[in-house]
Amino acid sequence: MILRARFCHHFPGKPFGLEAQYKNLMDLLKQTAVQGESNSVLIVGPRGVGKTMLLKSVLSELMEMKYIKENLLQVHLNGLLQTDDKIALKEITRQLQLENVVGDKVFGSFAENLAFLLEALKKGNRSNSRPVLFILDEFDLFAHHKNQTLLYNLLDVAQSAQTPVAVVGLTCRLDVLELLEKRVKSRFSHRQIHLLNTFGFQQYVEMFQQQLALPKEFPDERFAQEWNRNIQSLCKEKMVEDILQKHFNSSKDFRSLHMVLMLTLSHVTVSNPNIQPTDLLAASKQYMMDSKANLLHGLSVLEFCLIIAMKHLNSIYEGEPFNFEMVYNEFQNFIQRTSHSMHKFKKSVVLKAFEHLQQLELVKPMDGASVRTQKEYQLVKLLLDKSQIMDALQKYPQCPTDVHLWAASSLE
């Protein structure tokens, strides 16, 4: 239960290896909350690096102070939810619980709303109005709004001596400043906090151990100790280390680690209370699965033959797009060469198989105008690699031998 919550819900925990950034952000927000300075800051970092976690832990520490808790107003906005300025504005008025709000219903037009809000923000000054903290999640999406009105107004308030506001943007785009208009950019303080995964593999293993360990407050103390001891011994195993190294090499973020751990935990039952290295291996295999190979495995023999024909066309014409007639011609050549008539199908049956491949998006049409040309002559492209096809062929159950030979005979 505890571990589930940790992996799935991303509870605010202690940020790992981000002490400097933590302090930086902490000071900044404190200045806004206590001294009434207006600030703006961007937290930039790749997905899953802990931007939200950092912010949340800073906020929870700030909220422990009584003065700040009573004083600071928070407005949370998300670029995914507030897709345009109008919605965002409504959301701001709702979250600030301003006077013109009755219940949850907001009235007034966009212009009125904005004017009202700006008026409310302008009236205040540094000494006697409560500071407002704006948190803009998915900041880059806000930059796609029309004229960037919202950003302009927020940053403008932060620039001029009005109500103290702090604008905190969270984004994963490193070039987010290029998205901003000139006037918006000039009002932004250009304070950026970069979060990058700068730890080594040894720390990664420590992290792994720390994530799996049960906390001290766990009710059944004996079980917790036993569990933690088991985790410690688990980390020393060679196999576990190899798996972790593999994951570390592919990505450093914790979300993928969490996913693997979640899959591992799903193997743990009453009868099997401890994590075995094999569980981790199974989970890692499940995580690393090549999805296209999985799809190829489920194709019928006819569809697989078509894929091989396309592969041959690709190697002959060097990646030029092709149409169904060419594939069928290639397939027909193969059938004529082999003596027995096992794969003799009508053209329309083959066409149905071809359409199924298109539906699975293993084959992509070159141009969108599908109505204009006949489906036999529509140019398509194969979205599979040569090695992927050959690997899938090896694993294909009950593959006829002549198909095998045909696939191998590409170099002629």
């Binding site: 766990f218 009453v270 999805s291 023999v301 049956v349």
Partner: protein
């Protein structure tokens, strides 16, 4: 024990699940352990993919129903706008159904994702669901990609946005790599439902055997059926449909008394050509299933009835036929051969050098090429014997051929000044048309010289 307890579920429920869902034990176990218990947190989003008819929807639905989890199942094909999607989720959550009485209006209106999240929160609190995980199942999730761009990333991190204990399950045939938006998103937990192998299919299909015959007899039938259709089709739905359709024919000899149930060879010889024929007709929907059944009852041969594709012949006016033939010739012949084919005094061209083909592949492989209107008219005048005046009628016939989709207009920038066309008819069709006007089209086609 803090983690998963399978023991807490009533054993019989699991057993009944396993009975209902055959050959899916591993998937059930994984899904179940990921879903956990109602008050547990579950992973924010789970992405399930697999081929058509591998039981993605069925397993998920039965699992959620038997375990009595609060859940909502929405098909994304039905919801062509985001608003419909939101309202359907909210309606199902509230147990509100659209009917005549409420004039098919939903109880809550939400136009944007923002409103949806707010209403969702309210509704969950009203229904006292906030200490349970609510599952939102989005079937045919590939359609989400074509809807608003914030929808897919939004649903992926729905747990975080709504701050509720919710899990969104995506079901799709297409792999996750094709879903990922440009700036990335919250990665879901990816599960694969593998295809059924031959033995699995045999087992599943043998399940619904008719009571008047023995199970072994039906199993033999399924075995023969799979022998014919398995290389082409692995779709369980299709196979099941075909099995149901062709079974009366199979048991016919037994009913007549010609063969016993154990006489496998004879039964096989009886059914095999029949099944081969079925592949060319019913499988391609040339003949509808009811027609096929009627044919079997009347004991006619399967070919008697002409399928849909036979009816492709279209009756056209005289000039339209020639226009179409001219269009076909100009689409599939290279322009430099026009002089040789259609001009009476074509000067001295050596026959041998003309016959030497320059292209490696024939034009019938590459498809039709676009041609200008002038060339179409020139060929048209040279193949029509009598004098034709270029009246408005002729030109309107060209545009109506475009409307019938026998020709297509290429590059619609210029309607009046030198438009280009392409011919989109098949060779069979055009030879049939040419035969009606006594025109030997094959003689004029470059590919067949």
């Amino acid at each position: 024990m803090s983690e998963l307890d399978h023991g807490k579920y009533p054993e019989d429920r699991i057993l009944s699940l396993k009975e209902k869902l055959i050959c899916r034990d591993l998937q059930i176990l994984t899904l179940q352990s990921i879903l956990g218990e109602p008050h547990h947190y579950s992973y924010p989003s789970v992405f399930v993919y697999g081929h058509t008819a591998t039981g993605k929807t069925y397993v998920t639905e039965t699992l959620l129903k038997t375990l009595k989890f609060p859940h909502v199942i929405v098909n994304c094909v039905e919801c062509f706008s985001s608003r419909m999607l939101f309202e359907q989720i909210l309606n199902q959550l509230q147990g509100h159904s659209l009917s005549f009485k409420n004039e098919y209006t939903s109880c809550l209106q939400s136009n944007t994702f923002n409103e949806f999240v707010l209403l969702y929160k309210q509704l969950v609190h009203k229904q006292n669901l906030h200490n349970q995980t609510v599952y939102i199942v989005l079937d045919k999730a590939e359609r989400l990609r074509e809807m608003d761009s914030n929808l897919l990333p939004g649903f992926l991190r729905f747990q975080e946005l709504a701050e509720e204990n919710a899990t969104v399950i995506f079901l799709s045939e297409i792999v996750w790599e094709k879903f990922r938006p440009g700036t990335g998103c919250f990665e879901p937990l990816i599960l694969h439902f593998p295809d059924y192998n031959k033995a699995d299919l045999q087992k599943i299909l043998s399940q619904d055997h008719p009571p008047e015959f023995s199970a072994d007899f039906y199993a033999t039938y399924i075995n023969i059926l799979l022998g014919v259709f398995y290389p082409v089709c692995r779709d369980l739905k299709e196979l099941r449909h075909l099995a149901a359709l062709n079974f009366p024919k199979f048991c016919e000899p037994v009913q007549r008394g010609d063969a016993k149930e154990e006489d496998t060879r004879r039964l096989w010889r009886n059914i095999e050509p029949h099944l081969k024929k079925a592949m060319e007709t019913v499988y391609l929907r040339e003949i509808s299933s009811s027609q096929w059944e009627r044919l079997q009852q009347e004991d006619k041969e399967g070919e008697h009835l002409k399928g849909l594709s036979i009816h492709a012949h279209v009756e056209l006016p005289f000039y339209s036929k020639f226009l179409l033939i001219a269009a076909y010739l100009s689409s599939y012949n290279p322009a430099r051969t026009d002089k040789r084919f259609f001009s009476k005094y074509h000067g001295k061209i050596k026959k041998t050098s003309f016959l030497k083909k320059h292209e490696k592949t024939s034009n019938h492989l590459l498809g039709p090429k676009p041609f200008p209107l002038d060339r179409l008219l020139a060929i048209f005048y040279s193949i029509v014997d009598c004098r034709v005046t270029p009246t408005a009628n002729i030109f309107s016939q060209i545009t109506s051929l475009v409307a019938l989709q026998l020709l297509t207009h290429v590059g619609h920038d210029d309607q009046l000044n030198g438009p280009k066309y392409k011919c989109t008819t098949s060779l069979d069709f055009i030879t049939a048309v040419a035969r009606t006007v006594n025109f030997d089209i094959v003689r004029y086609l470059y590919d067949f010289l």
